[in-house]
Each structure stands twice: as structure tokens, then as C-alpha cells.
């Protein structure tokens, strides 16, 4: 027999000033099943909670209804209180008579009637509530980090520091990502390599971290605590164990025509190459598309020269299967393609470059040894124009509607580095707005203007007209309304950042969502910024949205902390409000399987006896650890064989009936 106790909160005067509590109490007295009613000023206070606990013990009530604020606010509080008094916490129901009643209605009588109605519905539902016990599942104590840029590196190091095994999968031959390509970092102007390389080395030496470079994740199954992942280690054509990184092969390779990815195409590389000297692992890879041996079958010079015999032309891709408790996605970003911005002549003139190319051109380890020269004639520029927002804040088909966030700062950095190294070179920056929200950022940008004499122009460039020797940049100073025609030697475009092209595929594989710009979506933009909607999968860095290095590292450490939180548990408890199948009623049409976004429902064959005959029947089965409790399957199921615990068909119908009474 269900004995319902109802607890009505005044919330000070928040509820009681609009809802006549006495009247509510009186109305509830007549409802069958309600055996105890109590009202109090602050039900969520300790005294209030004790009222609930005492009633459970003393009044022998076995269902609790609290008419108070939104369940999103205090459902957890009252469930805890019930549990403390020995009642299954899922026997508690909340009637929302504050946010949905007293705060939105002015008419006291109407609000009181509605409060009665809502509480009655909660009672009707509570009577049908069942004891629910969350399931438990073990945790594989190993983390997978996808992506080896600064985000992935930081996350891996933090998790390893906490004592857990980490596998890091990086698509390219070396970790380091975009940060390894940068020259200096804002706002402190540290040398990027100087702060990144030690971390890369730490990672390589860390016994807890296993690095799969030149590898890709190809399949992910399972759920938090128990992800099953397939990794494809692409054939490097080098035996990692034998290679000493001596570099003879790189130097002697006759095929040196490929454009270096690391140098943004500003230099050539050999067919056998390590992307950059500090690469981790310091093992080359053969680019089979340009290697003479692979293309023509003749050559094999590197194999002849290799002192340890590490070259293996026959090497095949290798498949690794591994289980993980958590996954951190740190796949980074790209710059947009500038094909459609013909007015800037990026594709048509070598002296128009992107910000990332500029980083390589001023880098001491870059193709020019750090000497800034024009790609066209290797002469030092005397006038450099920087153009911001190339494709950012651009809602046309060719751009991105969002702000790329990092360009204002790196452009200020570029201009400052330029003026510092070459004081006789003029720098002009075209901008729409300068955005410098960040610690020390505004001061940094102002320094560029005030101390380094960088000319900031609010306005944009209409078109660049390449002349015989210079680039005629036609722009406007929108504030003064004057047209500008600058004869520049070099133009640097702050191309918009964008999500990686493979983001869709990664999202699909991991069952996480992406936004309209194809960045991964966090579980909550404010309160759960590193989690995804899929438990156990976390986000770090620019794959979630444009980010600078400090933010990326902060998020990486946050993601690591979240991951460690899961790894540190031996068992995970899950939400018990999940779907369940009544197999006797299930017809096995399996529509539920087709629509389940979590692959939580599987097919099972059962034996059944009817009329003395044994028959085999196909039915659905719910994996309670995978099910997240959306209830979509319950509607796809016509006979109602699949139902949702905590929000059952019967419960919702009872609520409807109670509200309509």
C-alpha cells in the first residue's frame, strides 16, 4: 500500500505570497493515498529536510512528494534526504510550484488552483514510482587521447601524472601540432618551441604514456568505463625500434620535391622525412606518394645507407584494439582555405601569405633561418600590411560567422616582432574590431601601437592589385572615411580558423555532437565546458571552438581532471531511469534499435513455450549502462513493450489524468 507524504514549501514568501498554502493543504487531504501533509517555510533547509526524514521514519510513509522549486534545483537534495532515512531516493517526486507557478502568475486564486493541480499530478506519479537501483560497471583504467597538439600533450601528461596509463594517438608523424609551428607566443613572447619541446620530450619519456604516432582511431564502441577502440597504425616504412634518428636517410634521399607540411609549403622536404628536427618520435616516415622506390620500384638508397637496417618497404598498416575508460578528443583546428577570397590574391601571388606562414618565415628554425624576406624575390620587405578577419565574422558562403579569437593577438604579435627586428619596416594592420580579452592581452596590443608604432587602421581592404614590384593594397580608414592606397611588399592574411575536415567522422564515431560550424559541442556552454553529452568523452582545445594556447592548456588540464575523476573510481553508477523491455510483449520489430542514439538496445533470441511448442523469438534487450533514458524507443514501440523507468507510460498518463481532473 502506497502511503504518500506531501511536503509543501513556502520558499519564504516566494511561493506563499501567491499560493495559498492552507488551501493547498486542504485540497490534498482528500486525495487517496496521501497520509501525511506538512508545510514549512524552507523545505530545503536542514530543518525542512529533517521533516521529510522524520516523516519517513515515524509516519511510515513510502512515497515523498515535495511541492517546492524546480526539480532541476532541489530534486537531488530531497532524494538524498530520503535515502538518508532509508527510503529509495527514486520514490521522491517534486511538484514545481515556484518557477512554474508562483513566479509566473499574479492571480492568487488561479495560482493556488494550479499548485493543487501540479501537486496532485506529482502524487499520482509518485504512487506509481518504483524503487530504482542504479547499476554499476567496472572502469578500464586507461585513457585515450586523440590528437597530439598542445591540448593532447597536456592532457596526456596530466593523466599520466595522476598515475594512469594513457595512449595518445596522433595522425601525423610527430606530435607538436600547430604550436610547434609557431615562432613566439603571445602575450609574453616566449619562444614557442622552447616551452613546447620539453613537454614533448617529457611525454616521450613518460613510462605511463604510450604514443601511437602516424596513427588514426578508426572505430569506437562501448561506453564510459569500457570503450573499445580500434587504432590503425599507418605503415611508416621504418622500424621504430631500430631507428636511431641519425638522419642520414633524410640527407641523402634524392626525392626532395615534396612541399613540407610543417613549413606550410614554404620549403621542400625529402620523401623520407621527419617533419621537424625536434619531432617526437624522432623517427622518419616514408611518403609513399613521392618516394622513388614506391613510385618506380628503383632507388632504395635509404635502405642501403641506413646503419641499423631500419627501413622496411614492405611494412603494412597495423591494427591495434584496446580498451579505455575515458576518451579525450583534442583534434585541433585548421585555417580556412582562401580559394574563394580572390580579391586578396593569395593563390596568385607569393608575397601574400597567411599568419601561419609568417610564423615560419620569422622562425629561426624556419626556411629562411628567421630572416624575414619576401617569398617572391627573397628581399627584405619595407612595408608589411596585415589584414585581420579574412573569413572570420563573415556570414557569407565563403567565410565563418564566428570570431576566430586568436587573430587579433597574433597579428599584434607579428607586427611587433616585425618592428622589433626591422625598425625601418612599416607595419599596417587592417581590422574590424580589435579584441583583446585575456590576461595581459590588451596591454600587449597597446604596446604594439604605442611602443612599436604599428599603424592600426579600422577598416578593411577591398582588393590587392599586384604591381610590378609591389602590392597595391586598396583599403579604407572607416573612422576618418579616407581611402588608403598602400604600396606593400608583403601582405599577411589572418585567415579564419575552422574545425578539422574530419570532425564529422570523429563525431559520428564517438557519438558526440558537432555544432553548425562543425566544432564539437560541450555538454553545457557554461557549466560543463569540457564534457560532451556522451559520458566519459571529454574535449580539449580548439576542436571545441577557436582558442589560444593558455585557454587550450587550461581546458586540457580540466579535461584531464574530469578523466582522472572517472579513472579513479572502481565502479561507475549510472542513471537508473533507463528503458526496460517486457520481453513477453515485445514483438521483435526492433524499431527501438533503429532509433537509439546510444546503441543501447540489442537483439536477443529467447525461447518461449506456447501450446506445448518451443519457439525461438527475437526480442529487444536494453544495456542499462549505455541507455541514457531519452525514452525515444518507448514511442517507437507500438505495444508499449519498452518503457522508461521513472517516466513510464502509466506514470505520465496518471499525471495527465490528475492534471485534467
Amino acid at each position: 500500500m502506497q502511503r504518500v507524504g506531501v511536503f509543501i514549501c513556502w520558499c519564504g514568501t516566494n511561493i506563499s505570497s501567491t499560493v495559498n498554502i492552507e488551501q493547498v493543504v486542504a485540497a490534498l487531504e482528500n486525495i487517496p493515498g496521501v497520509v501525511y501533509i506538512k508545510d514549512y517555510q524552507y523545505m530545503c533547509s536542514e530543518i525542512g529536510q529533517n521533516l521529510v526524514k522524520d516523516a519517513i521514519k515515524e509516519q511510515n510513509i513510502n512515497r515523498v512528494v515535495v511541492a517546492s522549486c524546480s526539480p532541476r534545483m532541489h530534486e537531488a537534495t530531497f532524494r538524498k534526504a530520503a535515502a538518508a532515512a532509508g527510503l529509495n531516493p527514486y520514490l521522491v517526486e517534486i511538484a514545481n510550484i515556484r518557477e512554474h507557478c508562483s513566479w509566473v502568475h499574479k492571480d492568487k486564486e488561479a495560482a493556488t488552483q494550479k499548485a493543487i493541480s501540479l501537486t496532485r499530478a506529482a502524487v499520482a506519479k509518485a504512487i506509481l514510482n518504483e524503487q530504482l537501483i542504479p547499476g554499476e560497471v567496472g572502469v578500464e583504467k586507461r585513457a585515450l587521447v586523440i590528437g597530439g597538439g598542445i591540448a593532447g600533450i597536456q592532457t596526456a601528461l596530466d593523466i599520466a601524472e595522476a598515475g594512469y596509463q594513457v595512449d595518445l594517438v596522433e595522425k601525423t608523424p610527430s606530435i607538436g601540432g600547430k604550436m610547434a609551428q609557431l615562432d613566439k607566443t603571445f602575450p609574453t613572447l616566449d619562444c614557442s618551441a622552447c616551452i613546447l619541446t620539453p613537454k614533448m620530450v617529457d611525454l616521450a619519456l613518460n613510462s605511463k604514456i604510450n604514443l601511437y604516432s602516424y596513427s588514426e582511431v578508426t572505430e569506437v564502441n562501448g561506453f564510459v568505463g569500457n570503450f573499445e577502440v580500434t587504432i590503425n597504425q599507418k605503415a611508416r616504412s621504418i622500424e621504430m625500434e631500430k631507428c636511431t634518428g641519425c638522419g642520414i636517410c633524410l640527407a641523402k634521399c634524392p626525392a626532395k620535391k615534396a612541399l613540407s607540411e610543417f613549413e606550410e609549403g614554404l620549403a621542400k622536404r625529402a620523401a623520407i622525412y621527419t617533419p621537424f628536427p625536434q619531432a617526437v618520435p624522432n623517427v622518419p616516415v616514408i611518403d609513399r606518394e613521392t618516394c622513388i622506390k614506391f613510385v618506380t620500384g628503383k632507388c632504395g638508397l635509404c635502405a642501403k645507407l641506413c646503419p641499423t637496417g631500419a627501413i622496411d618497404y614492405e611494412q603494412k598498416d597495423q591494427i591495434v584494439n584496446q580498451k579505455y575508460g575515458v576518451i579525450i578528443v583534442a583534434t585541433g583546428y585548421d585555417l580556412i582555405n582562401l580559394d574563394r577570397f580572390g580579391e586578396y590574391q593569395y593563390l596568385d601571388h607569393p608575397d601574400i601569405i597567411t599568419g601561419l606562414e609568417f610564423e615560419r618565415l620569422v622562425n629561426a628554425a624556419g626556411p629562411t633561418g628567421g630572416k624575414l624576406v619576401r617569398p617572391s624575390d627573397q628581399k627584405q620587405p619595407k612595408k608589411v600590411v596585415f589584414i585581420q578577419c579574412v573569413g572570420s565574422r563573415d556570414k557569407s558562403e565563403r567565410g565563418k560567422a564566428y570570431c576566430s579569437k586568436i587573430c587579433c593577438m597574433y597579428t599584434a604579435k607579428h607586427a611587433m616582432l616585425l618592428r622589433d627586428k626591422y625598425p625601418d619596416c612599416e607595419a599596417y594592420v587592417f581590422y574590424i574590431d580589435v579584441r583583446t580579452a585575456g590576461k595581459g592581452f590588451e596591454e600587449f596590443q597597446r604596446r604594439a601601437v604605442e611602443n612599436y608604432g604599428v599603424n592600426y587602421i579600422k577598416g578593411m581592404v577591398g582588393k590587392i592589385f599586384p604591381g610590378d614590384n609591389q602590392l597595391q593594397v586598396n583599403g579604407v580608414d572607416a573612422l576618418s572615411g579616407e581611402l588608403l592606397q598602400l604600396e606593400a611588399d608583403l601582405v599577411v592574411l589572418a585567415a579564419a580558423t575552422q574545425a578539422k575536415p574530419e570532425a564529422d567522422e570523429v563525431a559520428r564515431m564517438l557519438s558526440i555532437s558537432i555544432d553548425r560550424d562543425r566544432f564539437f559541442t560541450e555538454a553545457h556552454p557554461k557549466l560543463r565546458p569540457v564534457e560532451t553529452h556522451c559520458a566519459g568523452i571529454y574535449l580539449a582545445g580548439a576542436c571545441q571552438g577557436p582558442k589560444d594556447i593558455p585557454e587550450t592548456v587550461a581546458q586540457a588540464s580540466a579535461a584531464a581532471t574530469k578523466a582522472i575523476g572517472v579513472l579513479s573510481k572502481n565502479k561507475l553508477v549510472n542513471n537508473p531511469c533507463v528503458a526496460k523491455v517486457e520481453q513477453a510483449v515485445c514483438s521483435g520489430c526492433l524499431a527501438c534499435i533503429k532509433i537509439c542514439p546510444y546503441e543501447a538496445i540489442t537483439e536477443q533470441v529467447i525461447e518461449e513455450k506456447t501450446r506445448g511448442k518451443v519457439r525461438l523469438r527475437r526480442v529487444a534487450e536494453v544495456n542499462e549502462t549505455l541507455c541514457q533514458g531519452c525514452g525515444g524507443c518507448t514511442v517507437a514501440c507500438r505495444p508499449g513493450a519498452i518503457d522508461l523507468k521513472g517516466f513510464s507510460n502509466q506514470q505520465i498518463l496518471a499525471e495527465v489524468d490528475a492534471i485534467c481532473r
Partner: protein, 264 residues
Amino acid sequence: MNYSYYPGCTLKTKAQGLEACAFKSAQVLGVNLVEQEEWQCCGAVYPLAADEIGTKLASVRSLVAARTKGEKLVTLCAACHQVIKRVNHDMKTKEDMREKVNNYLQLKEDYQGESEVIHYLELLRDEVGFESLAKKVKVSLAGRKVAAYYGCLLLRPREIMDFDDPERPTILEKFLESLGASPVNYPYRTECCGGYLSIEREEVVEKMVNKIIDSALQQGAEEIVTACPLCKYNLENSSLCQKGEIVVSYFTELLAESLQVKEG
């Protein structure tokens, strides 16, 4: 293959050369251009106001006629192309306008933008093919340094005209290459000549066209081709042209020349 051909007012008067050469060349190329039986002036400028319907009807009538014949509608004048193509786009995408126009025209079957509008250059590129055009060239224009001038109307707005990249188009250059000529790339080839401003603001137009011609000359151009009668007029009216620095012709004139069908 048969195509419905929309000539436009200028081609029947000031720009007869553009049309005559196009027709003769088409014959050689095995393309049958059939002039529409009835056509009205398209209005020369696409009516930009959202509340204008009447000025778009002439285009719709031609589009409907092409639909009836089941043929693509081919244009030659850049201005007509812009007007008809954009009106067609409106009929396809703007429900409100479609309803009003159809209500007014009282056709047997509502027109919903079914016809396809292509410019003569697109015909050469997509239907004839520049490669097969090159094979039919009788007199190669080898050694001639020609600057292609695009103007605005064929290229912009990009999404609607869907003609070529408005900032770095290639169709005219590829066309010239197929005739054996050496196209000259110069940055002003997509800048506006001033268009109809020449009616009351000649001084503005003068500045605009001189920049274009100057840029072409700097890159070594010896002549300019264009697809638009108004562009040609404005370019020729420039002081640089008047001084005899450069000549301007229609692209079809070069085409006819290389196919040896140009008279005189």
C-alpha cells in the same frame, strides 16, 4: 542541338558585330541558335527593388517561351544575361514574386523558374567545350596578347550568376587560349567600367576605365575583348583608347576571326 536565343536591344543596333560573329561561329560549331519569335527588351538593368514586378515580366515571357520549346535560353549581351538569369532565380526562389507574376500572366501552367539560362560563353565552355573549339580553329591567334575584360554583370552576384569565380575568373582566358591567343592576366579585369553612369557622369567613368586599360597595358596587352556592349563603349570612350593605345573588340569577333567566318 537547338537553343532559344535572346538577342536584346543593343545587339540589334549598336552591337551588331557581337551578334553577327556569334551566329556565324555557332553555325560552324554545330550549334543551332534560334532567335525567339517574340522578345521584348529586358530593361537592361535588373530591377533591384523587391517591390518591382512589372519590370521583370519581359524576362519571364522569354523564359516561358524557352520552357515551351524545351530549350536552354542563350544570351549574348552581358546585361540581358544578368537580368534574365536573376529574374529566373527570383521565379525559382521567391514565392511571393512567383505568385504575383503568375497571377498576372495567367499562363496555362505556372512558371517556376524551370528554364535554364546560359550565356554564349557558357555554351562554348559547357556544351561545345573549349577543347573541341580549339580543334575547329582555322586561323590561330598565336602571338596576340589579349586582355580579357569581364566587367560585372556576368560574374556577380556569385551565388545567382554561378558563372565563374567573381574574383579570379578563368573562362575568357581559357576561351582565348583555345583560339591560340595569349591571354594577359591583369588585376583590373573584374573591376567595373562604370556602366550606365556614362549617361550623366562621364568624368567618373573616365577614371574607372583608364585604370582598367592602364592595368592591361602594364601587363603587356595589345588588345582587349569583352562580352558587353556598354563595357566596350565605355572602354573605347576612354582617353587612352581615343589616343589609340589599345583596341577593344567583342570576344565573338575574335572567335569568328579564328574560325574564318568574319567578313571584311
